[in-house]
């Protein structure tokens, strides 16, 4: 199902772009702004769409081993919690390091999304 892999790659690309934006802000000595946070909200919404689509896909498609389903669900849960964790840690860190924290969370989301797509592909029935 290439649509699923395309979705995970889209999340990966946007997460990387947002992380780069945060990293550039950090390099310029800027703390996270409200616009960075709007970007985070958009990304989180996208991660939620990804989790819903893949979750439904798991149920509809079937044919995967129990272990593969657990692994994919585990990755999806991780994609949903990483940005809130980053936002919580960046909150109150009103320096450039707050921006780096957000960048780390963004890169992590990108990696998790990539791994989700890989596991989805290799465990296809």
């Amino acid at each position: 199902m290439p649509v699923i892999v395309a979705l995970t790659l889209a999340v990966l690309a946007l997460a990387l772009a947002w992380a780069l934006w945060c990293a550039v802000s950090a390099a310029r000595g800027q703390a996270p702004t409200v616009r960075h946070r709007y970007g985070l909200l958009v990304l989180e919404a996208l991660a939620l769409v990804q989790a819903l689509v893949l979750g439904i896909g798991l149920v509809v498609q079937g044919g995967r081993s129990g272990g593969a389903v657990v692994e994919i669900v585990g990755y999806l849960i991780a994609t949903l919690v990483v940005l809130p964790i980053g936002a919580a840690l960046a909150h109150g860190e009103r320096t450039r390091y707050g921006s780096i924290v957000l960048a780390v969370a963004g890169v992590t989301l990108a990696v998790l999304s990539l791994r989700t797509g890989q596991v989805w592909s290799v465990t296809r029935a």
Binding site: G67, E71, I85, L89, Y97, I100, V101, V104
Partner: protein, 131 residues
């Protein structure tokens, strides 16, 4: 950034906050991976999976210690982490047969972008300057 009355910023602020987020990410990812592997394929490579679980525990201790500003505990955890990644990284290169399944510290953390070997060094540098 206003400095507190204590002068020096605490170990979980500034760069310490960045270390904290990385330690949390590694505690969760190494822990989830170890739990999954131990639950589904423990007999394949029990030593490797137990080692992953140990590494996850070290990351968790370091993360909690950083968050709670327990410098001493954080220092111990980071030193164990450094020794672990250097030892396992070396052994995994010299005797790959001992590591049929990769762990977070295998080959100095190559599967994780070498972050596992860089992280404890940055952690030591950060904690060293704090009192």
């Amino acid at each position: 950034m206003p400095e507190g009355a204590q002068g020096e910023r605490s170990i979980n602020a500034g760069p310490g906050r960045v270390l904290l987020v990385v330690y949390i990410v590694f505690a969760i990812s190494a822990g989830a991976r170890a739990a999954f592997q131990i639950a589904t394929q423990f007999s394949v490579a029990p030593e490797a999976f137990l080692l992953s679980a140990f590494a996850a525990a070290v990351y968790l201790v370091a993360a909690v210690a950083l968050a709670r500003r327990a410098r001493g505990v954080a220092l111990v955890a980071v030193v164990i982490e450094l020794v672990g990644v250097l030892a396992i990284g070396t052994i995994s290169l010299l005797r790959p047969a001992d590591f049929p399944e990769p762990t977070v510290w295998s080959e100095f953390g190559i599967g994780y972008g070498f972050v596992p070997v860089v992280l404890p060094v940055l952690g030591l540098l950060w904690l060293r300057g704090k009192s």
